[in-house]
Amino acid sequence: MDNLTTENAPAAPRRLHPAVILTAFALLLGFLALIAWGLNRSMSGPIRTGDTVPAIQLVTFDGKMINTQDYAGKVIVLNFWASWCKPCEQEAAELEEAFQIFKDSGDVVFLGLAYVDTEPKSLEYLQKFGVTYPNGPDLRTTVSQMFRIRGVPETYVIDTQGKLAYAQIGPFESTAQIVSIIQPLIRK
């Protein structure tokens, strides 16, 4: 009778070691967490009007280091452009004119960032349009990613409190338009 109970009994199914199961679950969870982190990062929205703009660093084409933290209390006009961008040419002269208007007041800082451009062509462009305010490449597209720009030209105006006051998508129509955006921010 013993044979009846032991020999014919079905073999118990082989079970995985708990450590293997735990490791598999930990790996799966880690992978999912990684995907969630990546999605969260890519879905985080651009800087909106009224949001505080993080400090921006850039190295100008002539090697000068610029940090927007040094311009606290001033209005900052941040223009993204590229030498291969035709619409950028429409506003290049206007931006320079606006810069000349505010240059001596010391209340407004104009900064240009060349978006995915080559240095020789950028320099040619700056010379062609007589741009004299500080300009530099957007290295590794760090700043343009911060603003999540969709193209060039785009211009962001930061108020004296360091908050984004205005975003211009596409070229400015005239110098007067640029001045009208900046002027009220200085008076604040």
Binding site: D2, A9, L34, T118, L139, R140
Partner: protein
């Protein structure tokens, strides 16, 4: 008439001198072993530029390798590659420069650092895992029918016989 003869003599003499000069020049060229002159190729050549450009992607357009990208911006980047090659930069130096300027996304092959390692590690791991699972399933499928038969038997060995079940229970109680 004399004037005409003088003029034709002068022309003939001039022609002879010109032909002699040409023959001399040609002879000098052949003697010096001069090679035929071909149209100037841009330095470095397009092939050299494209060798590097195909390892990079357009930073503006989506998923277009730089060597086949038709935009003006891409043409400028290819010219930049040409300049760098002319300056004696290696392929790696040019790729590093592009990554520094425009970010890692321009590289056809992600650099082996940080989270990028997942791109290199996960596919072989998943492939090996899949192969192991497939192997184990196939091994089970190939198992002889005689070995698999006991598993199909009912859990209780009494085959539904109430007498045998009672015997089993009594034996258990005896233990």
């Amino acid at each position: 008439m004399e004037l005409q003869n003088a003029m034709s003599r002068t022309i003939r003499t001039g022609l002879l001198i010109t032909l002699a000069a040409l023959a001399l020049g040609l002879g000098a060229l052949l003697a010096s072993g001069a090679k035929p002159v071909l149209a100037q190729q841009p330095t470095p050549s397009d092939n050299e530029v494209n060798r590097v450009a195909k390892q990079l992607y357009c930073p503006v357009c989506e998923n277009i390798p730089l060597d086949v990208c038709p935009t003006q911006a891409c043409a400028e980047w290819r010219e930049l590659i040409r300049l760098k090659i002319a300056d004696g930069w290696s392929d790696e130096q040019i790729k590093d420069y592009f990554a520094l300027q425009y970010g890692d996304r321009v590289l056809a092959e992600p650099p082996r650092r940080g989270l990028n390692w997942l791109v290199y590690i996960l596919p072989p791991v998943f492939f090996l895992g899949g192969a192991l699972i497939l192997y184990s399933v196939l091994r089970k499928m190939r198992a002889p029918v005689g070995q698999a038969a006991p598993a199909a038997q009912p859990q209780t060995p009494d085959n539904g016989d109430p007498y045998l079940r009672r015997v089993e229970e009594e034996l258990k109680n005896k233990d």
